[in-house]
């Protein structure tokens, strides 16, 4: 299994500058393969939830193909099963997916370079894993075509994996034993993505504040705690970045003044 080609651990088999679009597509699949495998148990957990609910298996399976969002799908199935009003069920799923708005904002500069007709179909594949893996790759390769095909490789591999995991879960149903700790794959996958995305002090502060506020806001209705946490995290990270830039500027001006004073005393 190959490692995700982050800037810290580039995939040495393909230098971005020499890749064709086909190679970029394959590199995307290779980069996301560990995550695609990690998505399988998550899909199985969701598939089991579908079997244990009143929703028909094919509707639950279809949701994986067209919604492509684990947490939102689990909440949707749960709420439909509880006979919640459709506004609450659909609204909750959409609020959970609202974080994709943030990812799409982060991906906006690279999407702007893609042909217009590609943007909506490609946006369908935005998930936590697709966004983070592609954003890391985009830092190493500035060619829009290769970026597009890398993204497609990542997105399609995850889409297939999520669907396969769902149908395995539906097929096995309640026989998916909790003894395998499959649910642990969910936080583990997010953790494996989180750590490489922390590269400096501001991203560390953003992560700590994001996590802390999400925990504090866990009882806020419709699962909006995650969004609130993310917004506080981003704000805290930006403040840290601004503060370190300001202290750097003060340091430079102080050094400059000291240098001028020294120069003056020498004369």
């Amino acid at each position: 299994m190959s490692a995700c080609p982050t800037p810290d651990r580039p995939d040495r088999r393909d230098t971005p500058g020499t890749r064709t679009t086909r190679e970029a597509f394959r590199a995307g699949i290779r980069a996301v393969l560990p995550l695609a495998i990690g998505v399988l148990p998550f899909g199985m957990v969701y598939g089991t939830a579908v079997v244990e609910s009143s929703i028909s298996n094919w509707v639950g399976g279809l949701a994986s193909s067209i919604i492509l969002a684990g947490a939102a799908q689990l909440a949707l199935v749960d709420l439909i099963d509880d006979n919640a009003p459709w506004t609450v069920a659909v609204g909750t799923a959409l609020v959970i997916n609202a974080r994709f708005l943030m990812y799409s904002a982060a991906l906006m500069p690279s999407f702007a370079e893609y042909p217009r007709r590609w943007r909506v179909p490609m946006a369908m594949l935005i998930t936590d894993q697709t966004a983070v893996t592609s954003l890391l790759y985009n830092e190493t390769d500035h060619d829009p075509n290769r970026r597009r095909f890398f993204y497609l490789g990542v997105g399609l591999a995850l889409w297939v994996s999520w669907g396969v995991g769902t149908w395995i879960g539906i097929a096995l149903g309640a026989s998916v034993s909790n003894g395998f700790q499959l649910e642990f794959a969910v936080p583990l996958m997010f953790l494996a993505l989180l750590v490489p995305s922390i590269r400096d002090q501001s991203s560390l502060v953003a992560a700590i504040v994001g996590a802390a506020v999400t925990l504090v806001a866990r009882d806020v209705p419709f699962n909006t705690g995650l969004l609130i946490g993310a917004m506080f995290g981003i704000a805290a990270g930006m403040l840290t970045s601004a503060a370190s830039a300001a202290s750097g500027a003060i340091g430079e001006s102080a050094a400059g003044a000291e240098s001028t004073a020294t120069d003056g005393s020498d004369q």
């Binding site: 995700c4 936590d128 995305s197 506020v213 930006m238």
Partner: protein, 121 residues
């Protein structure tokens, strides 16, 4: 409203969320300050997701249920901190491995192996 209709509505709504910015604002130039903020999206959201899925769980009430009257667990909807155990230890080990190797594959392998071994103990 049928489950199928709700699934389709959720899918359409999710597509709007995913594509709104990348289509409507695709030509907008991003300033350096906004660019810095966008780079913080991933760590903020992912840390929140880790916190939610690792540290929090729904409380369960046990009751007699089912056709055979067996003891079944039912979610009460209350969100509580997960008691300290194998998940936390395995996650800490995985985080250390992720930090040292920056490899998703090794992190997932170590984390899952650790939680299985800790459950055996």
């Amino acid at each position: 409203m049928s489950a199928l209709t709700m699934v389709i509505l959720a899918a359409l709504g999710s597509l709007v969320i995913r594509s709104a910015l990348v289509t409507a604002l695709a030509g907008v130039t991003i300033g350096p300050r906004v660019g810095r903020g966008l780079r913080l999206v991933a760590p903020s959201v992912l840390a929140g997701l880790v916190a939610q899925t690792l540290l929090i769980q729904e409380s369960m009430s046990e009751s007699m249920g089912g056709s055979t009257g067996e003891l079944v667990g039912e979610s009460t909807g209350e969100l509580l901190f997960r008691s300290l155990g194998s998940w936390h230890i395995a996650a800490a080990m995985a985080a250390l491995v992720a930090w040292r190797t920056r490899s998703v594959a090794i992190t997932l392998a170590v984390g899952m192996t650790a939680v299985w071994l800790l459950e055996l103990v």
